[in-house]
């Protein structure tokens, strides 16, 4: 599909150097650094694994909004996957992504178990274009959401 980044399901079996063998915009997408912000270790680990299956190899995982903001300064991620509720203290995922966006907007997926209408409104207003897939997220849902958010950002 012209103009769209396509992360095909067949890439599930891709080797770790998939970003090298992929072509065009897809190669650019897969070569980008992904920042995963998730406070549950098992969920973060699964996200990392699913992203690796899609062909991403440069994945950084952090457990708090503060760590995400700090890391993003140096790491300049090209894609962020963030939980919204990051434990009982500190900034939530939306606050962290907004803070990171002050230095440049990064395509973002907010992956949360429960996003109230109020939270969705907040995301629409403050992080326009962000996807909000629901937990637990499966491989195909994640692939489609990543493809969509990168395509939207590519068009813009």
């Amino acid at each position: 599909m012209p103009g769209l980044v396509s992360l095909s399901p067949s890439r599930r079996a891709a080797p770790p150097h998939a970003s090298v063998v992929a072509e065009g915009r897809e190669a650019i997408a897969l070569a980008m650094r992904v920042l995963v912000v998730e406070d549950e270790a098992m969920i973060a680990w699964m996200m990392e694994s699913l992203l690796q299956d899609m062909g991403f190899s440069d994945i950084v995982v952090v457990s708090s909004g503060e760590d995400a903001v700090e890391m993003a300064t140096d790491l300049l991620p090209g894609l962020i996957l963030s939980d919204i509720n990051l434990g009982t203290a500190g900034m939530d995922g939306v606050e962290a992504v907004m803070s990171i966006a002050q230095r440049g907007v990064v395509p973002t997926l907010f992956i949360s178990g429960y996003a109230s209408e109020e939270t969705r409104d907040r995301i629409r207003r403050q992080v326009p274009g962000a996807g909000v897939p629901r937990k637990p997220v499966d491989a195909e849902t994640l692939r489609l959401a990543v493809t969509r958010v990168l395509s939207v950002s590519g068009r813009n």
């Binding site: 699964m46 699913l50 937990k135």
Partner: protein, 326 residues
């Protein structure tokens, strides 16, 4: 002072002892009756309210004009859309605060001249209870979805590290069981801090105590935050599974000692396996060691290392159990 209809010997006496606030308002909008519950609910005594306009007493300023217009409309047309219905609305207390009330108004001629009789109930507590319930349901929803995410993560990563369906099935069931037990302990502690010893004894419960036991436990009673207790339960489960398969609980003579202490605000745990022979450090990292490493840094924000010896191993774990993010 004008006599109140509530001084009436029959119906008035009943209304005076009602559990709701009862207010009598004349057709011209002036208060003529005000029982003891109305005094407690709105802060004004009968003496203070008697003869004053209802709209000035308990109706918030923004609604006063509508009240007066509605009264005029009723007197002119006989149409009273708020009569004989249950309405929830805000009312004003003497001290200036607003409160939600439930209200029903009827017109009666029981006291001679027709009057409006209002029954009012402060529903602040009910509203608070609904708000609390909504919060709890939201929190429960969040927790359940998060737990499903954790279970999906465990399933995904266990599958990635299982050679056969049988080995996946056994490993996944064991991990879920440990998670379930940690949840039971946290639920018993109403999801506040829960005792570390409870999860240790729960997971190591199948091993008998006494001098010949292969398992010894030693540490003070202390409480862990839910996030920490869940993380420790998952780590312990992996240590126990590994010990049962290959380590201190796999062969006669093998021993496991679990010790923990709190020093300078840091919890130090040591899992010591001994009594074995020919132990060598594994060359590749399996699910257990990777999951432990991830949980230690991610969920506990702590440190861990494993020391391998010929006769066993010692796994050290340290973290701050008072960390705010827990």
């Amino acid at each position: 002072m004008m006599a109140s209809p509530l001084d009436d010997a029959s119906l008035g006496a009943v209304l005076k002892t009602a559990l709701d606030a009862v207010i009598v308002m004349r057709m011209d909008g002036v208060i003529a009756g005000w029982n003891a519950v109305a005094e407690r609910t709105f802060g004004w005594t009968f003496v203070e309210s008697n003869g004053r306009r209802m709209s000035e007493m308990i109706i918030p300023v923004r609604n006063r004009a509508a009240h007066e217009d509605g009264l005029s409309h009723y007197l002119a047309t006989g149409e009273g859309p708020v009569l004989d219905r249950h309405i929830e609305i805000e009312a004003l207390h003497k001290d200036g605060r607003e409160m939600p009330i439930e209200l029903s108004i009827t017109r009666t001629a029981q006291f001679g001249e027709p009057v409006f009789l209002g029954f009012l109930r402060d529903i602040s507590e009910r509203r608070d209870a609904v708000r609390r319930q909504d919060l709890l349901i939201g929190e429960l929803n969040h927790r359940v979805k998060n737990l499903l995410g954790v279970v999906a993560g465990i399933a995904h990563m266990t599958a990635r590290n299982s050679a056969t369906l049988e080995s996946f099935s056994a490993a996944f069931a064991g991990r879920l069981s440990s998670l379930g037990r940690a949840h039971e302990i946290l639920t018993a502690a109403t999801w506040e801090r829960a005792p570390l010893r409870a999860i240790v004894e729960e997971l190591l419960g199948p091993y008998p105590g006494g001098p010949d036991s292969p398992v010894t436990l030693d540490g003070p009673d202390l409480l862990l935050a839910p996030r920490h207790l869940l993380a420790v339960s998952m780590i312990l489960h992996e240590m126990i599974s590994n010990a049962v398969k290959y380590g201190g609980l796999s062969a006669a003579g093998g021993k496991v000692a679990l010790r923990w202490s709190l020093t300078n605000g840091e919890l130090n745990m040591a899992w010591i396996e001994s009594g074995l022979s020919g132990v060598v450090a594994p060359t590749r990292k399996g699910f257990g060691s990777r999951m432990i490493a991830m949980t230690v840094t991610h969920d506990l924000r702590g440190r861990a290392d494993t020391e391998w010896r010929e006769d066993g191993l010692t796994f050290h774990l340290s973290f701050d159990p008072g960390a705010k993010e827990a």
